[in-house]
């Protein structure tokens, strides 16, 4: 069952079209990535999905309930983690959590224990009673996320949650997201980090200029743009003899040789590689090293939009 369904979302700020006909769906337990550069329209899309920004067109339902800026029912299903840290600096983490817990409608009796649980999850148990203005950037980020987890939402929306975070905090954030996905939460994750999208997301939408350019699993996206694996071989002996021997193989699209190395473009490196090594042996060319480079979303993005993900 789909937790989130949205279609035809559009938003313009005066002349500027920020989001144009965006639609997708996310199933329970699925992590869906919105991958796009700065200004692509990720935050605008998410704001409309969370019911905090009036859309010009389109429809959003979460767990079967329609979301607009005027509805509140469906909002209980959403945990929204904004891109910018949205916490009171002069309150403690516990006070921030209690405050938003009340707004999420968590019953009084379970609020205290739930706040403790979340503090534990985000690793702030021992700093829970300090004012958040005394926190490090990473600690603030974790609290920012924790608030969105309070009410155990069916849909967790994370807007670039790892920006400005040290590698350790970043890793713990990514691990938490993976765990949430496994526990059945639908996750909408925006990022302009290709590696994060590849690691976390079951499906990814490439968004640019307010439009979704392509959508699918990583494999699907790669295939969609006709990207191939690259095998780099380090050779001992004549690279040219190897090139000659391999040229007849149909799986090989392109092969180029340098002094002591050969670069081979293939469909599906894993199935072709054993045969290539076999041919090398038959041709009496020694192989000193093998490297397989699978195409990534970065290259998909480049192919689709003609520009790099990060400028």
């Amino acid at each position: 069952m789909n937790v989130l369904e949205c279609e035809g979302l559009a938003k313009a700020f005066d002349e500027l079209v920020a989001v144009d006909d965006v639609g997708f769906h996310i199933a329970a337990g699925e992590t869906y990535g919105l991958l796009g550069p700065n200004g692509a329209g990720k935050t605008t899309t998410i704001s409309m999905i969370s019911g905090i920004l009036e859309s010009d067109a389109g429809k959003v339902t979460v767990a079967g309930k329609e979301i607009t800026t005027r509805t509140t029912d469906g909002n209980a299903e959403i945990g929204y983690v904004p891109q910018d840290i949205a916490i009171y600096p002069d309150l403690t983490a516990r006070e921030n959590l209690r405050f938003f817990g009340k707004l999420y409608g968590i019953p009084k009796a379970s609020l205290g224990p739930r706040v403790d649980e979340v503090l534990e999850v985000i690793g702030l148990s021992d700093r829970g009673d300090d004012r958040t203005e005394e926190y490090s950037g990473g600690m603030k980020r974790r609290l920012n996320i924790g608030i969105g987890l309070l009410h155990e939402p069916s849909l967790l929306i994370l807007d670039e949650p790892t920006v400005g975070v040290d590698p350790q905090s970043r890793n713990s954030i990514l691990e938490s997201v993976e765990l949430l996905g496994q526990s059945g939460t639908a996750v909408l994750y925006t990022t302009h980090y290709m590696e994060e999208a590849e690691r976390l997301c079951d499906r990814v939408a490439i968004i640019d200029g307010g439009k979704i350019r392509a959508e699918g699993t990583r494999r699907e996206l790669v295939e969609l743009v006709g990207q191939r694996d690259t095998i780099n071989l380090g050779v001992i002996g004549s690279a040219y003899r190897l090139v000659e021997a391999l040229e007849s193989m149909p799986e090989i699209h392109k092969i180029t040789a340098a002094d002591a190395s050969v670069e081979i473009l293939v469909d599906g490196a894993s199935s072709v590689l054993p045969r290539i090594l076999e041919v090398a042996q038959q041709s009496e060319v020694g192989v000193s090293g093998v490297e397989v480079v699978e195409p990534n979303l970065e290259s998909v993005f480049l192919h689709l939009t003609g520009k790099a993900l990060r400028d």
Partner: protein, 385 residues
């Protein structure tokens, strides 16, 4: 209720900030104290008394001034020092009783007592009291002189006898009462300053407090609130409640604090309470409007102080409306301040009730409704666009 959670969080944040504590609670009370002490009408004036000789009657004159509750009398052994202190305002007036006072009286002459005051209105008022002492003494000495002249007793014993008669019952006494309205009324020294300060500070805090609202918006906390299952109506109600609560807490503190510490009489309690609630509502509405119109909290904070002081000056919360020319009094009434001050003046000076300030209450209600509607309307738009 979710609005309540937002309101209480507003209050929690306020009381946690030491600088607001100072400006919201300590500063207004200090100002009431300072203004009351320097400009208030009813404090005990000090009279410096220099007795040049060592005559018994001269000392009697000084003792009688000392006995007068209206004054605090201070003895000066040096007339030069006394004159200087009068000039510097350390004492409000000086009385110099010459060395030959007793001798002149005993020889049947007219003794002169020198009164030194400054050229202000209160000086004239004080002089009357000192003159009353002189008149008292003259009566005693006049009577004694008659007794002495009849050969019934010597001057000194005649004076003693006359003094006994004067302090006993009988004779005539002038009891003073007033009619009409005095410029600065016959009221406690803090009574007028306190309401003006209340209005001034509640507005100042409300307007400057819009910074907190802008900060909440800029931090994205407001948008985050919208993302929760909380209606925008509840959020607006909560934020308005927060502004209102802060204004009420401050207003109540100033009211109760000034009543307890400086004995300020606020008049009819119901009337004063209604005025306070309306002032707080208007402050809340103005704060919401500022909070929606400005996007920069520091800018709003300083503009708030600027507008707050400007409105207070215009509306008579800094200088009494009585000293304004007529047209300015009319202009002053475009501010809620002037109406609120009128209301308090009616309650405090004329023993007015809620009924007698109905006009002021209605006008203030109008201010409150307009500002609250405008404020919430603009803020609602800011939250979802």
């Amino acid at each position: 209720m979710k609005a309540w959670a937002i309101t209480t969080t507003n209050i929690k944040r306020l009381v946690r900030d030491p600088s607001t504590i100072f400006f919201v609670f300590v500063f207004p009370m200090l100002l009431i104290l300072v203004l009351g002490a320097s400009f208030g009408g009813g404090f005990t004036p000090k009279v410096g008394v220099h007795v040049a000789g060592d005559g018994v009657y001269a000392q009697g004159f000084a003792d009688q001034i000392d006995a007068n509750e209206e004054f605090e009398s201070i003895d000066y052994s040096d007339s030069g020092a006394l004159l200087e202190d009068v000039e510097r305002g350390i004492v409000q007036m000086g009385v110099i009783i010459p060395a030959n006072y007793d001798d002149t009286l005993a020889s049947g002459g007219t003794a002169t007592v020198e009164y030194v005051g400054r050229l202000d209105q209160s000086s004239v008022q004080y002089r009357a009291s000192i003159e009353a002492v002189a008149t008292d003494q003259s009566a005693v000495f006049g009577a004694a002189r008659i007794v002495e002249g009849e050969g019934l007793a010597d001057f000194d014993s005649a004076v003693t006898a006359a003094q006994l008669v004067a302090s006993g019952p009988g004779g005539s006494e002038v009891v003073v009462s007033t009619t009409g309205e005095a410029l600065f009324g016959d009221i406690g020294q803090f009574d007028l300053g306190a309401p003006s300060n209340l209005i001034l500070f509640v507005f100042l805090t409300s307007l400057a407090g819009s910074a907190a609202l802008i900060q909440t918006r800029r931090l994205g906390v407001s948008r985050r609130m919208v993302s929760t299952p909380t209606s925008i109506g509840q959020i607006l109600l909560g934020e308005t409640g927060g502004r209102f609560a802060v204004a009420m807490i401050q207003g109540l503190f100033i009211m109760v604090g000034s009543a307890v510490a400086f004995d300020v009489k606020w008049g009819n309690l119901l009337g004063a309470g209604v005025l306070l609630v309306l002032i707080a509502l208007i402050g809340a509405g103005a704060g919401m409007l500022m909070g929606a119109l400005f996007d920069n909290d520091e800018q709003a904070g300083s503009m708030g102080v600027f507008i707050g002081l400007g409105l207070a000056a215009l509306g008579g919360a800094m200088f009494p409306l009585e000293v304004f020319p007529d047209t300015m009094v009319k202009v002053a009434h475009i501010t809620p301040h002037a109406w609120a001050i009128d209301g308090f003046a009616e309650l405090i000076r004329h023993g007015g009730t809620l009924a007698s300030i109905a006009t002021e209450v209605l006008v203030l209600m109008g201010f409150a409704v307009v500002l609250l509607v405008l404020g919430t309307w603009r803020l609602r738009a800011k939250l979802t666009h």
